[in-house]
């Protein structure tokens, strides 16, 4: 066992019945996210979506489990691979797909695109495209919570590839120094674009960085969504109650290429197939059936409902009006009279 496993909680807060309901809900969320991303891949192939499209297929347990451990009022900051985080934080598939379609009804009204989902109402503070650049920003959100004496916690997600990036270290450094209520979550999917982790990091255990910055640490495999929820939950409580930030590394895997244009020839079919045996979505389904004796027909109807919701979201995105022209200059400055076309 890894020495950072000592941070694992010893007792389960829920009884069997509650656990079952919880896992049922987390399974539904993961499936919803997967189906939304599959629908977006299809729309991309049909040329209905442009730009970069990065899918988190295979990694759903991380965002779903982690965000399930947070309160609605907690904040989440993510990367460009953030459709799942956005939905797990309460965002609707309609808003995501409409944004990808460049529609006025999208989360950012068609201005942001796949990499830049935001939701003020759900306290989802964005998807960011510059690797590591959002980490200090997330520390700033946690700083504001502490400053105002509020007990909200910030979850900051980033990839293994951002660990060498300077901004990340400055963010971790300040969070540790100022005891900010934040949980840093490295989604280690073992590749940054075409580069495997061992060619990026001299020390592959990302959480080794924690001690130098006075962060607590934890590191675990991510395929079990309940485990992710428990372990991140411990860190969230530590941040909330003790203002002690934590650096967490969750080992996961993306089944698709880095983006839609990446054929991912840098890894073997066997490797991908092996990871697919630990696909978090069917794993949760299996547990519901075997461990929690959930009737199969209950799962089937849940799955049908998810399918219908995604179909409806696609219809919504396709039939929504295009992003508004005025939005291009309306949102550059606070003062609507300050028209950037004449600055």
């Amino acid at each position: 066992m890894n020495k950072s496993d000592q941070n694992a909680p010893t007792a389960q807060p829920e009884n069997h019945e509650q656990q079952r309901a919880l896992l049922g809900d987390l399974y539904r969320q993961m499936l919803l996210i997967r189906r939304v991303e599959e629908a977006s891949a299809k729309a991309y192939a049909q040329g209905k979506i442009g730009g970069f499209l990065h899918l988190g297929i295979g990694q759903e347990s991380v965002c779903v489990g982690a965000i399930a451990a947070a309160r609605k009022t907690d904040y989440v900051v993510g990367t460009y691979r953030e459709h799942g985080h956005y939905i797990a934080k309460g965002g609707s598939p309609k808003e995501v797909l409409a944004e990808l379609y460049g529609k006025a009804t999208g989360s950012s009204g068609g201005l942001g695109g796949s990499m830049h989902l935001f939701s003020q109402k759900n306290r989802f503070l964005g998807g960011y495209g510059i690797v590591g650049g959002h980490v200090p920003l997330a520390a700033g959100v946690a700083f504001a919570s502490k400053y105002r004496d509020e007990d909200d916690v910030t979850l900051c997600f980033f990839g293994d590839g951002s660990v060498p990036q300077g901004a990340l270290h400055e963010g971790l450094s300040l969070a540790g120094l100022w005891k900010l209520p934040i949980v840093f979550i490295c989604e280690n999917n073992q590749y940054s674009m075409g580069t495997p982790l061992y060619r990026t990091l001299a020390v592959e255990d990302v959480t080794e960085r924690a001690s130098g910055y006075a962060l607590a640490r934890d590191r675990f495999k991510g395929e079990d969504v309940l485990r992710v929820r428990e372990r991140v939950g411990v860190a969230i409580e530590r941040a909330r109650k003790e203002r002690q930030p934590t650096l967490i590394e969750v080992i996961t895997y993306r089944f698709r290429g880095h983006s839609m244009s990446d054929p991912a020839t840098y890894r073997t079919k066997e490797e991908v197939e092996e990871w697919k045996l630990r696909d978090p979505v069917p794993l949760a389904r299996q547990r519901l059936l075997a461990e929690f004796a959930m009737p199969e027909d209950q799962l089937v109807s849940l799955e049908a409902a998810v399918k219908a919701e995604v179909q409806e979201a696609v219809r919504f995105a396709e039939s929504s009006p295009p992003a508004e022209q005025e939005s291009v200059w309306k949102h550059v400055y606070a003062d609507p009279a300050l028209d950037p076309r004449s600055t």
Partner: protein
């Protein structure tokens, strides 16, 4: 020989690395992945891991490493996956690379090339669609090169690698697949020497990189109306071939400057200033500019088209310069 823009860049690097063992390439995904845009295809196999170096995502780090290595005799080519990420390394570029020669009283030089893709591609959103050449041109000590064709890409990159100063070499993200004739053998192009991409007599269009192709398309449209446009491509923005621009304006008496970047403090503003100062009496009309709108890039396709320069916008600007349409306010 016919080459794509990306092949031309690849040849330039390979030839220079064969010629000079101090030349090396480092950047994200340049080796095993064969380049994010496949510009370094085959180079790892040819030169090995010692000279074609995959870096982690640490731009400040590996640009800085390039600066230090250059100070003591290497000639690094540092590839940025795109120039949007130069912003992460901007301290190394502006405070170190650009200043060391002068701060050291001429004792040290920084012969490095920082190259990679610039400009908007399609729908990459606000953080991935920037044309930052004006920012680099603003900084004394840097040279700025922006080729529009495969031949220019090859000739200029070879010169940039041999140059003893830090060169910002910005490639068009949408130009990599463009094909063009490239001279056989050596044809280094001096930095600071522009090129007439189409000769004409009624109006000069000054433009570089991807904008040259918009201007050529606009020139075709205008030719059908009997308007003859001269397309001037400075190729290097710093140093700038002002003589070529002035002589073209002295011939056509009208000028449109097209740039992909934002208008405020843009490169076009500097060029317009120089033209009016040097050849004021030659001008028959105010200089027109076509730039991106002064906003972060929106994602939706139809909004992106609203923001970026397009051939119809260039056509309209030429008409204004010819008083065939109302001038801009």
């Amino acid at each position: 020989m016919r080459l794509s823009y990306r092949e031309a860049l690849n040849q330039a690097m390979c030839e220079e690395m064969e010629r000079d063992p101090n030349v090396l390439l480092l950047g994200e995904e340049v080796g095993h992945y064969q380049g994010a845009y496949k510009v370094s295809q085959g180079m790892l196999q040819k030169f090995g891991e010692k000279r074609v170096i995959d870096t982690p995502i640490a731009e400040a780090g590996f640009v800085g490493v390039g600066v230090g290595a250059a100070m003591v005799g290497l000639r690094p080519i540092v590839e940025l996956m795109t120039f949007n990420f130069s912003l992460v390394a901007i301290d190394q570029i502006i405070n170190n690379a650009a200043k060391i020669r002068q701060m050291s009283g001429g004792q040290f030089k920084v012969p490095m090339v920082i190259r990679g893709a610039g400009g908007a591609a399609h729908q990459l959103g606000a953080q991935h669609s920037q044309s930052l050449e004006a920012m680099f041109c603003h900084v004394p000590g840097l040279k700025v090169v922006m080729p529009s064709t495969p031949a220019d890409a090859k000739g200029l990159l070879k010169t940039a690698i041999r140059d003893d100063d830090p060169v910002i070499f910005i490639e068009g993200e949408l130009l990599y697949g463009n094909q063009g004739e490239v001279p056989e053998g050596e044809h280094p192009i001096p930095l600071g020497k522009g090129d007439i991409k189409r000769a004409g007599s009624d109006c000069t269009i000054v433009c570089w990189s991807k904008m040259v192709h918009l201007a050529l398309a606009a020139a075709e449209v205008l030719a059908k109306e009997g308007i003859s446009v001269e397309v001037v491509d400075p190729r290097t923005l710093k140093p700038l071939d002002t003589e070529l621009i002035f002589s073209s304006v002295a011939k056509t008496h009208r000028c449109v400057i097209v740039e992909e970047g934002w208008p405020f403090s843009g490169v076009g503003a500097e060029i317009a200033h120089r033209i009016q100062h040097a050849v004021f009496d030659e001008l028959d009309a105010p200089i027109e500019r076509v730039t991106a709108m002064d906003v972060p890039m929106p994602y939706a396709l139809h909004l992106e088209e609203l923001v970026v320069p397009t051939a119809p916008k260039v056509v309209a600007a030429v008409r204004r310069a010819l008083y065939l349409a109302a001038p801009t306010a």
